[in-house]
Amino acid sequence: MSDALTTLLAEKGTLLADGATGTNLFAMGLMSGDAPELWNEEEPQKINALYKGAVDAGSDIFLTNSFGANASRLKLHDAGHRAFELSRMAAEIGRDVADAAGRKVIVAGSVGPTGDIMEPVGNLTHADAVDMFHETAAGLKAGGADIGWLETISAPEEYTAAAEGFARAELPWVGTMSFDTAGRTMMGVTSTDMATLVAGLDFPPIAFGANCGTGASDLLRTVLGFAATGTTLPLVAKGNAGIPKYHDGHIHYDGTPELMGDYAAMARDCGATIIGGCCGTTPAHLEKMREALDTRPVQPAPSLEAIVAALGAFSSTGDGTGDDGNRPARKRRGRRAA
């Protein structure tokens, strides 16, 4: 049997995902430093409103408030043992909202990074990472999530561990990485590298792509990089609504709803079929994105120049793919035998 996302994607061709979680909860009064996931228990009506905001704006998919619901992240709030139940609650609220929507809406259980660096560079072992991801995935599934949704990952090792966690929970999943360092992830992964990584997994995602990062332009360049690999998996584009600015005690992203509408249409032209926002994307942005996807014709993939003209400059000249794929190498002295 096909998963709910694949079915809906086949039906509609392009799906609108949701916007921000953290920045929107902030606007609802979440205090700096508090764990958003605790609100699944303490302020369920606000989480309900968050999900409903995306659904009412036309989203086909929304992500649950469980980004930091893993043992490592929750430990900070003395809730390290509650990853399963907080994930379950996040999905339960989501299930209610989706079932009341009057149309098919996918509940995607958000799974964020552990925040730890994995072996061999860091201390987190593969086995521990898989356990943590499994715990979150199992909680999301128990709460009624249709799929799991891994996001904002930098390290290939962590992406692989999460895949195993989803496999163990038998939860179909989508997984995106954050390309925020000169067009690569913090750990140096290019769009091409990610496509290769995904293709080699035993329990591959239903769709893969990019989220967050630096700006809409960079994100689309990454999507073009995925598309250029010839992958047959659906591609996800979830970019930030511009760049964060500080205004009277709160963070405000400078991307307008109109700009995000342009971004959504261009993301589809670049080859993405699951399109949403990330930090700073509010229901007002989502409405313009919905409108753009519903009314604008599909165009050929834009050139890099056209992306810059519409959405602004890239944060770096290259992104490590194509002609600039060869890293400039340092001239080395003789290397010692091991």
């Binding site: 963070i251 930090c279 080395r332 002295r333």
Partner: protein, 233 residues
């Protein structure tokens, strides 16, 4: 590597050895760096010269290639780890010989944020540049920062946040410092993925640092400026 001759560190002259240590730092070879430091000590190099000429020199190359997108976090962490091996040998000797101090930094991730990858990178690169670093770890309320700067008397306070939900807390810390009249006693540097220069300015930091390499360059610049101001009286 069968066609390459094995390099024996102790057989290299000083200049070649330092060049080789640059390469070994670049490749994150901790044991080789420790060996190199010990050889230079045997050759009666001053600990401060080993630090600045061999280790800091090598880490500067790593920093530049990180800044330029040639090296990424995993490689930098390995290089910093190798550097740390050398520093562990030099640290007590530097204190004994009364070597000049480059500067001191107190650093920590703000309250509610457990991300420490970026902060650790900055710590390592700052140590790599010869700074003394006091790392407060993650999830620091304003009290932790105030207590640490009072106790440690650093030149620089560094704050890191990786979440849009935690970055405003940096302003809480800076505002408290202003209230207590101690803001201008320190250089305040901020960093983290969702930040930018404008945000740094808006909350009253001295500078926003895009990455660990920029943090080191900015720190050096501000400390030099501070020393010049003091010298000018």
């Amino acid at each position: 590597m069968s066609d390459e001759d094995e390099i024996i560190l102790s057989e290299l002259d000083d200049e070649e050895l330092v060049q080789q240590m640059f390469d070994d730092l670049y490749d994150g070879l901790k044991e080789e760096i420790e060996e190199g430091v010990n050889i230079l000590l045997e050759r009666k190099w001053m600990p401060y010269d080993i630090l600045t000429k061999a280790l800091v020199g090598g880490m500067t190359i790593v920093g530049h290639d990180f800044r330029d997108g040639i090296l990424f976090v995993p490689e930098v962490l390995l290089a910093a780890n190798a550097m740390k091996g050398g520093m562990a040998i030099l640290k007590p000797l530097l204190a004994e010989t009364g070597a000049p101090r480059v500067g001191k930094m107190v650093i920590g991730t703000v309250k509610g944020d457990i991300h420490d990858i970026g902060k650790n990178l900055v710590s390592m690169m700052m140590e790599g540049a010869g700074f003394e670093v006091v790392d407060l770890g993650i999830n620091n309320p304003v009290e932790n920062y105030l207590e640490a700067i009072e106790q440690e008397g650093p030149d620089i306070l560094g704050m890191s946040a990786l979440l849009t939900t935690t970055m405003p807390y940096m302003k809480v810390v800076i505002d408290t410092m202003v209230e207590q009249g101690i803001r201008d006693d320190y250089i305040v540097l901020v960093g983290g993925a969702p930040l930018n220069e404008e945000f740094g300015k808006a909350i009253g930091a001295d500078a926003y640092c895009r990455d660990a390499a920029v943090a080191v360059e900015t720190a050096k610049e501000f400390v030099a400026r501070k020393h010049n101001q003091l010298a000018a009286g």
